[in-house]
């Protein structure tokens, strides 16, 4: 399912198309997701506490009848915590049958870039481990991390419990 950066290079370079990135911030650090990965951006309404969940699972929300988790990645990557402000948003991302909200401090802009501008990361950026970094982008003096959204569907706390559920029937 996941489209690797290399594939983007190949397919996009051919027709010289630009890719569009949704740029957002987490504790002042700029990250981006490809626009087609973001189903929608919503304002933060009430987030319901989910007991027994990993700490970075902020809670659950109901979006038009679907109840799904919202993650606070700052907690996951041990970044400095930032209070919620009127600019705080939830990016709703979706894979085949799962939905997930990512709590972000601010959605900065939608950026059009040429795929060739994206470099490969060779070492962890800030606290974000390499497997979450699809690539790096330098726009003037800004460093933007192209975030690997697929990984968030496979985070430790969540993944482990999903596995154990599958193991129950034996």
């Amino acid at each position: 399912m996941s489209v690797s950066t290399a594939e983007i290079f190949n397919s996009q370079a051919k027709d010289k198309a630009e890719i569009q990135l949704v740029v957002f911030t987490l504790s002042g650090c700029e990250l981006a997701l490809e626009i087609q990965e973001v189903r929608e951006i919503i304002r933060v309404s009430e987030i319901t506490l989910m007991p027994k969940a990993p700490k970075y699972l902020e809670g659950i929300i109901n979006l038009r009848g679907r109840i799904f988790p919202v993650l606070d990645l700052k907690k996951r990557f041990e970044m400095p915590l930032v209070e919620r402000t009127p600019e705080t948003r939830i990016l709703v991302v979706e894979t085949k049958d799962q939905m997930l909200g990512l709590l972000v401090d601010k959605v900065v802009e939608v950026l059009r870039v040429s795929p060739t501008a994206i470099e490969k990361a060779t070492q962890p950026v800030l606290n974000i481990t390499l497997d979450f970094v699809k690539g790096l982008l330098t726009v003037r003096d800004r460093l933007i991390i192209l975030f690997n959204m697929e990984k968030t569907f496979n985070l430790e706390g969540l993944r482990v419990v999903v596995d154990s559920e599958a193991a129950i029937p034996k």
């Binding site: 007991p51 027994k52 109840i67 799904f68 988790p69 419990v161």
Partner: protein, 726 residues
């Protein structure tokens, strides 16, 4: 239709036929002379052969062809059925099932497996060689069919003629080997409906659509299209062998007479209407049906979800009375109704809060409409439990055989209907319980004879409705559970203490077999006995909001009783508060709520308890169950605390909550997949305020807590051990 659609139909039908084959074989094994079953098997094999050949699944076609060949002498009564052959047929069936499963994800089959299966079949049929050829059946031919009209139909026809439309009598004949009668006939009817209107048909349109005819059918059609166009359209559909169109003469006022024009006499009458398998559904008042050598099995669409379709404005227009609907659409409808119920509840709350009297009446109406809508959709989602029961005879047979036991499976109430979700979820627990009954319950024949019992044990699987509940029971007449043995085992495994064991009544002791990790058989067998079966079944039933009971008498047998609410989508829930968060506990789980004084709490073996009518009941804080912080300080000034007494399996527990808000009808929404892994929540609901409230699965919350406590106790030991190791 795309080819993938055909495949879908093929797979669905093949599965149905295989289920029939399985059941017939089980019957046949017990009663080798059972003619009906032999015919059934023969027909099913024949149909699968035709279907798979058309789809290009060569190995399947070959195997079923061989099955037919081997069965032929048995069907014609020339040779008896041997146990060896039955086994070989079972192997063939398994292979067919395997292929069907492969096909559901792949598009083609490897031929590798065919040879091995064929060999076993060949071997089994060696002994049967030299069978006489089947008797030539008598063929009778009908060349004329008259369809009488009703007054209404006559009106339609004369009206149409007056308005310049033509009336045609159309005979359509499909190819002899047409494997997709259902599909072809659907395409034909659809094509004709695009060109005109079907006034009359033989057999009835719904029968045609199901493929309940031999090779052809008759239609009387009103249309403004020329004969040529119709002919061209119909002959363009594949597997249509012959289309004969005659114009309708006015003297055929009372009936349409169809005459076959061809000179050659057909070997079999293609227009024979096939009998329906389920009795009493259709009575053909015309059409002289006769016997035929190639009796083709009617394609029966049972098992698929069918919904009545509302007819259009013109009731004379022929519209199929049923449509197939994908289950995802039903789920979507159900979800929408749930949303509607939630909105209605919110609406009601506002109206009552603001005392908007003028809205009470329309609100009451809305209430009734949503109720009815909910009921109707619920009904559409019901399926007979037959869907899962059908798998069991074969499973029981295989298992009993492998354990050298004799078991008769009796099934009652297969027609009882249950929500689709419950049916899907119940399949696995029932398998566990049946396995348990065969493995642990039913004794080997010698032992049974010694006890003065019939050497063959009986397992009864029962389904019945009781108001808003469905009760499933698995009853065996085996050795039963020995309470003494259970006590001993439970103490040995450290599940309970010796003192507790002594205090238990026999009935309570029997219930211990449902504890996780319990198994009374010393050697865990391949079948069950790993102590998961009963435990898994119980957990599942309770997660579905049902109750699970065990009754057993030593030497007489064991009964498992599973009781479920009819629907899972909307339930009554108790809203409780815990650290300012609202949670829902299904009312079915709660026996009562009591207020207790703080001094009434006692600590027994590190477990907080209280006494309710002489019964010691363990107490848990909801915070503790949910891994939330317990607020410090004393409870309320009054010193009273609220306890929900809940039934968890066979025992009672008390749950301390901050506050009980009240009881409410709630619509259960499932949690997204990532959340399903977090144990202890069976779903969530949206409250009147628009907030989400999680629905608690008390049983697994308590199990989880016990597990955590156990790990905490042992964690202190493990690191020490590793230190020593260093």
């Amino acid at each position: 239709m795309k080819s993938s659609d055909y495949k879908e139909i093929f797979l669905t039908e093949a599965r149905e036929y295989l289920a029939n084959l399985n059941n017939s074989l089980v019957v046949l094994e017990k009663d080798p002379g059972h003619g009906e079953s032999i015919n059934e098997i023969f027909r099913a094999a024949h149909t699968i052969k035709g279907m798979s050949a058309t789809m290009g699944y060569e190995p399947m076609a070959q195997l079923t062809h061989q099955m037919e060949t081997v069965l032929e002498p048995i069907r014609s009564g020339v040779k008896p059925l041997t146990p060896q052959l039955v086994d070989a047929l079972f192997i063939c069936l398994d292979q067919l099932e395997k292929w069907v499963n492969i096909l559901s994800s792949n598009d083609s089959l490897e031929e590798d497996d065919l040879k091995a299966t064929l060999t076993s079949l060949q071997e089994a049929s060696e002994a049967l060689r030299g069978a006489a050829s089947p008797v030539e059946p008598v063929v009778e031919v009908v060349q004329e069919v008259a369809l009488p009209f009703t007054d209404e139909e006559r009106d339609v026809i004369s009206q149409a003629r007056m308005n310049g439309f033509s009336v045609f009598k159309i005979m359509v004949e499909l190819e002899r080997d047409c494997a997709f009668k259902e599909v072809r006939s659907f395409m034909i009817l659809k094509a004709i409906n695009e060109l005109g209107e079907i006034v009359k048909s033989h057999p009835a349109p719904q029968e045609i659509e199901k493929g309940h005819f031999e090779r052809g059918f008759f239609l009387v059609v009103v249309t403004d299209s020329p004969e040529e166009k119709i002919k061209k359209t119909l002959t363009g559909i594949s597997e249509v062998e012959k289309v004969q169109i005659d114009s309708f003469s006015p003297d055929e006022d009372h009936e349409a007479v169809f005459k076959k024009k061809e000179s050659e006499t057909p070997k079999s009458n293609p227009f024979k209407v096939l009998p329906e398998r389920s009795p009493g559904r259709r009575e053909s008042d015309f059409g002289k049906t006769e016997t035929d050598a190639e009796s083709e099995e009617p394609t029966d669409s049972k098992g698929s979800t069918q919904v009545s379709r509302t007819t259009g404005s013109d009731e004379r227009t022929f519209i199929l009375p049923t449509v197939r609907v994908h289950t995802s659409k039903l789920d979507k409808l159900m979800a929408l109704v749930q949303e509607l119920v939630i909105s209605k509840i919110r609406f009601e709350q506002v109206v009552h809060q603001k005392e908007l009297k003028e809205l009470l009446d329309p609100l009451f109406q809305l209430h009734h409409i949503t109720d009815e809508l909910q009921d109707e959709i619920m009904k559409v989602r019901l399926m007979p439990v037959k869907q899962i029961f059908d798998r069991f005879p074969r499973m029981v047979r295989d298992l009993a055989k492998s354990l050298h036991k004799q078991v008769d499976l009796e099934m009652d109430g297969a027609e009882v209907e249950l929500d689709r979700t419950v049916i899907e979820e119940m399949s696995e627990p029932l398998v566990h319980l049946l396995r348990n009954a065969i493995d642990h319950g039913i004794e080997i024949p010698e032992e049974r004879e010694k006890e003065g019992k019939d050497p063959a044990g009986t397992i009864r699987l029962q389904a019945k409705r009781e108001r808003h509940f469905v009760i499933l029971s698995v009853i065996d007449n085996g050795r039963g559970v020995d309470p003494e043995l259970v006590r001993k085992k439970a103490v040995m495994k450290g599940l309970i203490t010796r003192e507790e064991a002594i205090r238990l009544t026999d009935e309570e002791a029997v219930r211990l077999i449902a504890l996780p990790g319990f198994s009374t058989i010393d050697n865990a067998t391949e079948v069950s006995g790993r102590g998961v079966g009963v435990d898994v079944a119980k957990t599942k039933v309770e997660a579905l909001g049902g109750t699970f009971r065990i009754q057993s008498r030593k030497g007489l047998g064991t009964t498992f009783i599973l009781r479920f609410p009819l629907t899972l989508a909307i339930i009554k829930g108790l809203l409780v508060k815990c650290n300012e968060e609202v949670f829902v506990i299904p009312v079915v789980n709660i026996i009562e709520t009591v207020d207790i004084h703080t001094d009434e709490k006692r600590i027994i073996q590190q477990q907080e308890t209280f006494i309710l009518r002489d019964e010691v009941i363990p107490l848990y804080h909801l915070q503790e169950l949910l891994e939330m912080a317990i607020p410090p300080g004393p409870a309320l000034e009054t010193g009273l605390e609220t306890v929900l007494v809940a039934e968890v399996g066979e025992s009672r527990v008390g749950i301390l909550v901050d506050e009980v808000i009240g009881q409410q009808e709630i619509a259960i929404k499932s949690l997204d997949r990532l959340l399903k892994g977090i144990r202890g929540f069976s779903g969530a609901t949206i409250l009147g305020s628009g907030k989400i409230a999680l629905i608690l699965d008390v049983n697994s919350l308590i199990e989880d807590l016990k597990e955590r406590r156990f790990q905490e106790e042992h964690q202190g030991i493990i690191p020490l051990g590793t230190h020593e190791g260093l």
